[in-house]
């Protein structure tokens, strides 16, 4: 019983589909303010997501996904993630992510006029998140 009580509903929605909907015990991800882990009965909160790994813990089972952009609404017994881009490891093209990583790194290093540094940094973060999700 005690176990059941620690679970809450996690719902991940993307513009194309409902990505994930399950009772889980913990969820971790990156926000613009830093990394967070959420258990049941969290304070109601809306957070903006930063590129990183999303970890879903459900009993003994742990699943990971690369979460790139969106925001999340946390309620005591429900967490809704509105993800603009999210991928399971199986959906990630590692070669492409590595390519994107080197490209973004170069762009930041050169810092040629006209390059959008913020955008390059975001691209780099996304690529890193993808690569790490697959490696784990």
């Amino acid at each position: 019983m005690a176990d059941d009580n620690r679970n809450f509903t996690l719902k991940i929605i993307t513009p194309d589909r409902v990505f994930y909907e399950e009772e889980v015990s913990m969820v971790e991800f990156n926000t613009v303010e830093g990394e967070v882990g959420i258990y049941k009965n969290h304070l109601p909160m809306t957070m903006i997501i930063a590129p990183g790994i999303l970890t879903i813990t459900r009993g003994d089972e742990v699943r990971e996904a690369a979460l790139h952009a969106g925001f999340t609404e946390v309620l005591p017994d429900k967490v809704t993630i509105l993800a603009e881009i999210i991928e399971w490891p199986s959906e990630i093209d590692v070669a492409r992510a590595k390519e994107a990583k080197t490209r973004a790194e170069e762009r930041i290093k050169e810092h040629a006029p006209g390059t959008d540094l913020n955008r390059a940094e975001l691209a780099l973060k996304r690529a890193v998140a993808r690569i790490e999700t697959v490696r784990d």
Binding site: T14, P15, D16, T31, P44, M45, T46, I48, L82, I85
Partner: protein, 287 residues
Amino acid sequence: MASMRDIKRRKGSIQSTQQITKAMKLVSTVKLQRAKQRAEQSKAYFNCMYETVTSMLARTGGLNHPYLKAGESEKKAIIVITSNRGLAGGYNSNVVKLITKGDFKKEDLEIYAIGKKGKDTLQRYGYHIMEENSDIIEEPSYVDAMAIGRKLLDAYAAGEIGEIYLAYTGFKNTVVHEPKLLKLLPVEAAENADTSQETGSKAMMNFEPEDDEALDMIIPKYVTSLIYGGLVEACASENGARMQAMDSATSNAEEMIDHLSLMYNRARQGSITQELTEIIAGANAIS
């Protein structure tokens, strides 16, 4: 009365037209199913997005954020979503009418066209087309919506445009589609009038980062999601409209074929009767 051969030829041509419209109807029916499913799947996202944004705006009502008040520029950007192909009844012209009949000044408008038909028509009327992205209507993706959204938001932030609108066809159900004009930016506070009924859990929502910054990040996502929603709905409406148009074209062709068949048979009967009369008259003359 037209000759038998003329009627036959006419009937043949209508028949082959009917075959085309029938096939097109089938194609759009299939496409409609897919587009409809897509529109439904994405609904959850938009509802949630809308709720969050309205509850946020309710809290930050008095905030003097650039996204909440009209820009200084007179220019207005309109994203016009139409189809690339015709034969969809009034689908495209209804969207164009929103703009030509609306109370906009032609000089103030900058059209961001998605869909060739709308772009061509507006260009003919002398509107200023800023950009055309007609390919994306075939297979709307969120990334495309993001690209357009970012461009518009940049222009908005730079003060090049004061307001952003979205003109598209909303999909109510398979037979009802209504052209809609939506104001994307600035976000209007009036639409949040009913937020007082929000549930308690929403009312005490905390934001991380703080309201102002969160608004900065969420509004672009909100705009993007509206654009994507518009694309998906317009896609469904296009196929719905085409299906209806082709359905009535097919039944009209059926009607014409019936009528022509009747005329043809009458003409045939007439010619047989005439021939008979001639033979009998000839036989009578000999005897």
